[in-house]
Symmetry: C2
Subunit: 266 residues, 2 copies
Amino acid sequence: MGTYSEEAALLYDKTADRLYPTITGVGEAVAAGEINEGVVPIENSLEGPVTFTLDLLIAQPTLFIRGEIDLPIEHYLLAKSGTVPAEIKVIYSHPQALGQCRQYLEKNYPQAEQMASLSTVLCVTDSFESKVPAAAISPRRASELYDVDILDRGIQDVANNVTRFAVIGLSDHAPTGDDKTSMAFTLEKDSPGLLHRVLGEFADRDINLLKIESRPTKQLLGEYIFVLDCVGHREESPMKEALASLSDPISMLRILGSYPRWKAPI
Amino acid sequence: MGTYSEEAALLYDKTADRLYPTITGVGEAVAAGEINEGVVPIENSLEGPVTFTLDLLIAQPTLFIRGEIDLPIEHYLLAKSGTVPAEIKVIYSHPQALGQCRQYLEKNYPQAEQMASLSTVLCVTDSFESKVPAAAISPRRASELYDVDILDRGIQDVANNVTRFAVIGLSDHAPTGDDKTSMAFTLEKDSPGLLHRVLGEFADRDINLLKIESRPTKQLLGEYIFVLDCVGHREESPMKEALASLSDPISMLRILGSYPRWKAPI
């Protein structure tokens, strides 16, 4: 309870009520049909892609992206009630949250060791179990669930900190008129211009490329799986034609899903 | 002592003798002129880019890449002399090393909690200080420096595990005839086909694209800095002409350096 993933899930669906401790756990619950939709972090405006989620989606052909949620992130510094800030020796959080507060921690807690926890909520109990004075970096919600003092808030280095979550399921989403498509592919061989040719199939059709990532194939250093987000739905023109044209230079293509672009609730 | 970075540095230069605890520390020592060359990890064949290093190079305009080293990685499982493997409750390592041994740990040590350490050597002392039976994932070299038992070796999930290190300095390298060039750039605005046009300047000149990464600008979710590795030296044709042609769609271009491609010692 109390993670950013839970906040994102509730923003997407007020009735969301199942919680899983890890990204793998959410993926397995969706794949097994225990839940129809799951919410996992996929990208952060400061740290970049959540590579663990990308690798999971690439490796699991039964999982599709069927929605997205953009959640503004505000990190709180929490500590067991009565903790003296100047005495803090250890600060626990998920490595991505520690990374997002790097400058703040170097400036305000240079003496504190940074320790990794498995989530931005488990770090609260990790800090409780510490033998030396400790703090945790967590969402606001965690401060309501535990007996903690709020030592500081908004401690992320860059004010504009947004995490994008993917809604995953066993199928993607029907066209809505304002959609995007995520896909992963490998190129047949490493020769000049192949990626340029693939991107040309989109550019020539005025399809806007929103994102390009490369993930290692895990076979050879320098071999990549490309992950692309483009505007449009895979069942509609011109995306449909662009995807159909890709067979030639591409050795593997997996459509991760077409889904509506996120609109913040008013 | 005993990190993979140290092994890489010694492979590059047998007289390498200064050790820094963090990537930031190496960057600062090079920028301050304390050392002429520093060695930092930049990419792994399983986990992908070392984003911290990419972000450091993008942000530090005085630092250049002047060489690269590919080091095969073999992870050892070490524990304080006399530790009983079945009793191990905690396994410490750098998060990237833990990620590279994910399946091995799930299969062989499902009961053990994974804890992050700041390096693949500090995890050995972290495991020594643990109140419960603990182990550490480290390079072979660490087993010679500490009083440990080798519980297992080659525990990485994929046999072909190679880390690429960058040699950084205050200038890049003169042409050698077999070079590559790393660069980072942002595009002027988010419109269809801009990245395709940039890649076209290389493809049209038969310049092989070795790698493309995107890093967040840290300003707006969905805005990226692209990092490209291409074959060729920035002072030589056709790379020289390709770089000169990029001014139009690009709003920021930083040449991270031209340098000889790695050749393993015979």
